[in-house]
Symmetry: D2
Subunit: 377 residues, 4 copies
Amino acid sequence: MVGGGEGAYIGNIHRISARFDGAFQLVAGAFDADAARGHRFAATQGIDPTRSYDDFKAMIAAENGREDRIDVVAICTPNHTHFPIAKAFLEAGYEVICEKPLTNTLEDAIALEQLVRETGRFMGVTYTYSGYPMVHEAREMVAAGKLGAIRVVQVEYPLEWMATAIETAGNVQAAWRTDPKRSGRGGSVGDIGTHAYHLAGFVTGLKLEALTADLASFVEGRVLDDNAHVLLRYEGGARGLLWSSQVALGCSNGIRLRVFGEKGGLTWFQEQPNELTFSPLFGRTETIKRGADDLSEAAKARTRTPPGHPEGYLEAFANLYRGFAEAIRARREGREATAIGLNAPTAYDGLKGVAFVDAVVDSAEAEGQPWLKPYAV
Amino acid sequence: MVGGGEGAYIGNIHRISARFDGAFQLVAGAFDADAARGHRFAATQGIDPTRSYDDFKAMIAAENGREDRIDVVAICTPNHTHFPIAKAFLEAGYEVICEKPLTNTLEDAIALEQLVRETGRFMGVTYTYSGYPMVHEAREMVAAGKLGAIRVVQVEYPLEWMATAIETAGNVQAAWRTDPKRSGRGGSVGDIGTHAYHLAGFVTGLKLEALTADLASFVEGRVLDDNAHVLLRYEGGARGLLWSSQVALGCSNGIRLRVFGEKGGLTWFQEQPNELTFSPLFGRTETIKRGADDLSEAAKARTRTPPGHPEGYLEAFANLYRGFAEAIRARREGREATAIGLNAPTAYDGLKGVAFVDAVVDSAEAEGQPWLKPYAV
Amino acid sequence: MVGGGEGAYIGNIHRISARFDGAFQLVAGAFDADAARGHRFAATQGIDPTRSYDDFKAMIAAENGREDRIDVVAICTPNHTHFPIAKAFLEAGYEVICEKPLTNTLEDAIALEQLVRETGRFMGVTYTYSGYPMVHEAREMVAAGKLGAIRVVQVEYPLEWMATAIETAGNVQAAWRTDPKRSGRGGSVGDIGTHAYHLAGFVTGLKLEALTADLASFVEGRVLDDNAHVLLRYEGGARGLLWSSQVALGCSNGIRLRVFGEKGGLTWFQEQPNELTFSPLFGRTETIKRGADDLSEAAKARTRTPPGHPEGYLEAFANLYRGFAEAIRARREGREATAIGLNAPTAYDGLKGVAFVDAVVDSAEAEGQPWLKPYAV
Amino acid sequence: MVGGGEGAYIGNIHRISARFDGAFQLVAGAFDADAARGHRFAATQGIDPTRSYDDFKAMIAAENGREDRIDVVAICTPNHTHFPIAKAFLEAGYEVICEKPLTNTLEDAIALEQLVRETGRFMGVTYTYSGYPMVHEAREMVAAGKLGAIRVVQVEYPLEWMATAIETAGNVQAAWRTDPKRSGRGGSVGDIGTHAYHLAGFVTGLKLEALTADLASFVEGRVLDDNAHVLLRYEGGARGLLWSSQVALGCSNGIRLRVFGEKGGLTWFQEQPNELTFSPLFGRTETIKRGADDLSEAAKARTRTPPGHPEGYLEAFANLYRGFAEAIRARREGREATAIGLNAPTAYDGLKGVAFVDAVVDSAEAEGQPWLKPYAV
């Protein structure tokens, strides 16, 4: 692991997820920009001191020389460092798991995604919500035609914790999210809007044709957007609305997807992730429960407990890790991956996310509210 | 009453609402374009046969000559006839209650609204959702500053019953809604989007600065939109999203409003109208119940039963009727109206609705997705 | 109408309900124990002064002499006066609509129910919750075997407004409810437990075999129970739990029914009365909406608006009134009642309610917690 | 670990929970009654083959002789074997984590609980629901007096998966649950009713004074109860209702607690475990979210992610494991446990559960429905 040391929220999430199902062992790392602090942290994790490194370059150099060198590196550093770190590991032949966004600029994202293809390494990007079993169930239902042709997509990700200028009051998490140098061009749209965009595309399988966006920065002094409204037009004619907000009082991590097709509609809400509702044309709305016997293999492969014993965010994250492990193993073993290893979010998904942010900001900044198509869809 | 005879859904709703609280008596009418059928219907309502008229002109002529002439006429005819009928009654000195939309064209709406001002008569337009007590509570909360400056408005009105081409399969309600001659330029946006637009403006008190819209007609053969996505910019900087849809499988009359301000957020959903949630800045979300002791006079005046005994759509509609009655009486008596008579939806609200539809369609039809400001806001 | 004058909550509910569908006209009454106040109230209702009576005896005497004498009397007086008033009207040949409970003592209830049978008059008792369309739908589903043999019944009616000693602080509604002289032997169990008991029996069609009960009076100084827990055994083997409470903080009028059979389960909650959920054996839970096309005639006859436009308590109450009207008309015309007139709550239902309270109190007061069977089931 | 081998549902849950936070390492086990199968399973878990034992006796004998002997054993065997295994480990000086129920008979439970006290070892019993952070929050709220004196407790645990005779159709999980030899005297009441009973006692801190119960076996051929209704009387005057059911169609693991006091009411539902509602006397119901800043230390110590990222059953189970670890460490280090180590469910809780089942069955079997007090409360 690179980054994710003491006090790092997402680093801890990655570690819990990695050991959840026993598919990974954390054996080496460069956990902190402050090397000494990184070493102290490594000790708390039971890492062999010789494999706690000063920085990622030292890590690559040393691991390269080991028989038992790591297979996969997880990158949990600030966004603007994803690119050089991922590049170095890929070029050294390692598989990579990376936090989203892939990179802070579209150029870097394009380059990195190309590098992944050239090296043939695996690069997984943690679009967490695609780890939820009922999100896979929704995707399978759409793919199986249960909704018919998709007409309307409503997706949103509102939250409230950045509703005041906490970035100037010592909140580290808010500070980097509101700093263009560390977060790129997108504020809410980059932080959470990309999750919503990925979720909508993941479930529907639709590709974006064009978007037009309206961004706002409500909190005084904030440079990046903290609220984004985006009109979506998908190839084939479906239309969508995307809303992301960091100032939506009352909302915690309210990512919600509603998809309406010719033959059915479905809804999923991350805060009650064990359920999916399905509304067949002029029929009764049904509640589909995680763990039910009649679900898809994709959903079953991502569930551990029976219906009614809720699984949540960490289980979803752990599903990504299990999926990455299986995807890597299957490739190495030259076989097809089993259900858990299919449809893992990749560098290309990461590229799409960065391209989406770029197009949204371009659209919002332009005069005359043009419809734009992202670089990659 | 003009229109609203046998088989008319909305006519029956108007009659139930009018007698709900005993504020009106139905004593005369021209209930049907087919005069004989109208007379038969009048008989079922206990109307004096001499006051069942062949058409609205006969009605005005005859009522003008009576001592006990009607005070108020309710117009429940197809949209495109609202204008001439309302005009005739207003010019003859009657007060008018009219279904929305006010008219089918912006020109007519402008003219009619001006006529109302010139005649000094009352003209109420049945924007039903502003009859709900908890909608008034929300409005009072915003007005009292409990949300602080408004930042974000999310409003939607999805429904499903027009998801197939039922207009070509004998459904009368769908037939006029999808016919530009009878419904004007707006499909879903005119039928239900205007309700959503009115609700958002009613609660927040915000005036629109500009909008940009994307319309779609998903059902084959449908000319008017059956799905509308609208970006909203309000004066003062608030941003909004409006969605109306007639093809949203699983949704019945899902009009829902969420408002987020600097100090609080609130949500209201028409299908559970007795509750309002309020989320103070970084505090706990509270459920506010209709009937509670600490509500505003505006809400209390519109409630009949204690918390937990649900009131619904008909009570809301009846509240409009009570409000119209009180507004008229107060004006006639030269006094201020009591709470029930305040903030009744008027001809100007009707004009705003027609202007909104016009701007939405203009925006959607234009190249380059321009931001437009409706004629009246 | 007898009783229900100025300030009477339930009297107003009866009047709204009676005129809701135009089935009744209020033409005469003895509205108040204080005759002068009753006459003033009658004037506000547009009652002919000659038909505003000093008391119910004067009312019967005078109405008997009129050609246009009333058909039906609604009794909205305090519980302990139901018996003599109903008796007098029945014996004079009038039909009667009476608030629940039928009477305050089992003896009176038995006598009154017998009198109804002897006179052949109609006596409707306003068990309000059986006026809801989705309650009828539930009943029809059970009757049609969709749940199979019933195994378990869970019914509850919690509320909060009597959680403190408001009866000693001027609350008139609480005062009579906590006074054995005016309310009989039951506190919460009489006031609201009987509603729950009726609802459970109405939907399931089951007859009680035995009960055992535990009563408590939590509020200081309160003589009657304000919380009741009752174990139910139904004929045929089904088991049930009934809970009524006047001290359940957070609950408004939370009457809720859950029924579990061999083949399906269903739930209904009065505060969201437009929905019913149905869970077929090992299948997906479905939400059934009031107004849907595939509902029973019993439900359709009790609905006025399409799905998504909520109907509530007053509509349910009005359905009882429409049902009483149709039941009376059908009997007078010697024909079968249409759907709205079927299964109206009768004097026998009222008797069952009084018998239930009696058995509950007997069980709770006895040593050794015996299983008792109510007098009438 | 003893038991919990191949195909064992609960064994897997224990393992995930144990490694969740890195507090335990699985290093030895006797995983299966079929020793060979147990060894095969051990290999899949990376267990040193010399520490995969034929049975628990061999395990104790061998581990006793090791320097690096295990600290704690987790017992995941069938219920009727808990007693001898736990006894043997305790007597050999090990700490024990045991699935509920503690034992199958009251005598064994009494003896085992006494043994725990005599040996001074720690014995944790996995009453899972007390691992949820919002359950701890509820307990802290009650303890802090926010509800005032408790009046009414409503607790239930309905599920549906045993609604047919699956025990005779090859379902292993159902087979032992319905077999008195393996499950003791309680059916649903032992399997899930004890969870409900523990949850109610855990949150309220109340001790039972007496109970009276009604048991039913609805599924043909089933000997043990599959539905239990229990009236509860707590010391100090609070009253309760407990319902457990294995035949409640539509319910998955619907354990729900509602507590009503003089000053407030609260509700918690395991299927949406990240929320708690609190209703102050005559105030507005508030939703309290896991992860909020103003929660108790007890809740915070059991939470890993911010509000809106749901945690579930496995996190709760892992919290028990972390709590056991901390409780053991604190005792060994002679210090007070930190928040995570407090209030862990112990052998005494296990004894109370067994005593509860015993009293429920005694009450149900007796004539005249007596009020009984369990052996331990």
